[in-house]
Point group: C2
Chain length 349, copies 2
């Protein structure tokens, strides 16, 4: 099928660009001597994760237990959930997954209360859960301070059904190193062996050489890249594998056109006051979104788009775009090669 036979809005993945992104990141990690663990939150598709494994990845990372379940059912064996898993329903789900023969489940904790919940579930199910201690970083999200990491690591180590798997850091940019070194010293003094230091983030990955202690990188967005990555200088526009095909549906003035995409198809994420990049009109500015309308200022464009014209948007944040669509389309040139049902879409638990 020709790509222009697809209705709009549709999410198109350029398979050549995606494969190049997969191979480039794997080669980069290989050159650094760190293991690579793609985060599947970006694509939510076992088929793409399989390509990442075949390129050399050691396993996958998921952000939610129900995402992990979809990938477990698709045959993935080494699954890490770098997230505080809270509540019996979720810790039991983790333990249940860990009971599957040949499957290794790793998760994270930034507080002893998280460790205790995991220990109970693992004990009840008589399985082993591998647990990373989550270290605080500059983004101030989750994560414990160095001295608290030791307490957490000891608690993990002391639980019969938990195994201390090392440290989890997000994002692992160069700024983490002083705290990381301090933490490693404290852990060594406590007699705790750190098997893995798992870093992450598409931006953080670029600074991995400045944190030689890292043993693993978890990266998600790199597989498609997006307008945020371009604006931040993490990649070039040519590497952006995801584009959302849209149609011009209104040209109410010479300065403004409206597309048939919006918050429900390209998401509400914004960067530098814009909602994405219009490939065919690089001087255009996507300045506002309604649910099903994209508002574009074309005042700086020499040529103006016309009603019915098909255009393509590089979205601000690919990970949240995939999560809006029931299916996305893998294309090769102008041909649709594959229709992927987004298997882990909406897996919020």
């Amino acid at each position: 099928m020709h790509v222009n036979e697809l209705e709009t809005p549709s999410v198109l993945i350029d398979l050549d660009k995606m494969m190049a992104n997969i191979q480039r990141m794997q080669a980069y990690c290989d050159s650094l001597g760190v293991a690579f663990r793609p985060h599947i939150k970006t694509h939510k598709l076992p088929q793409i994760a399989q390509m990442q494994l075949e390129a050399g990845a050691v396993g996958i990372a998921c952000q939610k237990t129900t995402e992990a379940q979809v990938f477990l059912e698709a045959g993935f064996k080494d699954i890490q959930i770098p997230y505080n898993i809270v509540g019996q329903a979720k810790t039991r789900r983790l333990a249940q997954m860990a009971a599957t023969p040949g499957v290794k489940i790793t998760t994270a904790a930034d507080h002893v209360a998280i460790v205790d919940g995991l220990a109970q579930a693992a004990s009840d199910a008589n399985v082993t859960l591998h647990v990373l201690a989550d270290m605080a970083t500059s983004i101030q999200r989750t994560g414990a301070q160095p001295k608290d990491i030791v307490t957490i690591a000891k608690r993990i180590d002391a639980a019969p059904n938990l195994e201390f798997a090392g440290l989890m850091v997000y994002p692992s940019d160069a700024s983490i190193r002083p705290a990381l070194l301090e933490t490693l010293t404290l852990l060594e003094q406590a007699g705790l062996q750190v098997k893995n230091i798992s870093g992450g983030g598409t931006g953080g990955a670029l600074e991995a050489a400045q944190v030689p202690e890292l043993t693993e990188l978890r990266v998600g967005t790199y597989v498609f890249y997006d307008w945020t990555c371009v604006v931040k200088g993490w990649t070039s526009i040519d590497n952006c594998a995801m584009r959302v095909a849209a149609t011009v549906i209104s040209t109410p003035s010479s300065d403004r056109v409206i597309l048939d995409s919006g918050r429900k198809s390209i998401a509400s994420d914004t960067i530098d006051g814009g909602y994405g990049h219009l490939v065919e009109y690089p001087d255009a500015h996507i300045y506002a979104l309604s649910e099903e309308h994209t508002h574009v200022d074309v005042s700086r464009c020499d040529r103006k788009p016309m009603i019915g014209e098909r255009v393509h948007i590089i979205p601000v944040h690919t990970c949240v775009v995939t999560n809006l669509h029931n299916q996305i389309y893998g294309i090769h040139g102008e041909q649709v090669e594959v229709v992927w049902q987004v298997a882990a879409r909406g897996m919020v638990w």
Copy 2:
């Protein structure tokens, strides 16, 4: 099932508040003598639209042709799509729906090119499509200027398979009246009868008495309301029927807690620098979102949330939240009364 047995994040709809919202809006429209046509983009659920019809609504509005299809298949007969429908696949879908016995399909156009596409599809299928002319408003989205409305209306009127249905305005706040009166005069001079003047918007509806020419109101968000409506003064917090249950998963400092919701469960929409309202901690500030983390500043809260605690978020924008979830839950007090699969979720075409 007790509501706290649901995992988090989950979207909870307070059925009593929702029914009160449905009845209040219908009574308001009845008191103004205007027809009420709920916009289903907010809930995407035939079951809720049915309650709106039973309360007195004349039909429904959808924003996409595939949304309309879901509701057609659920038995709805009077469907309006107040949107420029562009491209053969979509205009044919409209015409196909209009061919269903007893079904009336109304759409809109702000340009003669839109009219011509509709005319062709309606003629090919030998059906009648009802078409509103879309009038420009202060939000500068779609919509034609008064003199162009006359051209569009004539083009609709001249097409054998189209019927000029009147005017479509969004939002229909008091500021539209001068242009509306000008348009009506021009249409009268052209000998064109205006059967319907369809206004819309949860905020605009509040000013409907100042636009006595309106014959119909299309409103969506009112059914649940959201934090935007509260901030804008359109409703009180007590009328907000949608809350997203979330769990505190991290307390990294005395000022900050992290919840297990995020851009993939409460959407990235923001107002006044916030991403929603935390019901149990009204002094808290939801200042940032990751995909699966909600970042909350609790520095102004006397009592601090603890890991594992269940809290509830009134989201910034309900319509985009429903669209993220496979199912939402209707609750009565603390009991889950109904689980709704979001039938038209992801219907982007």
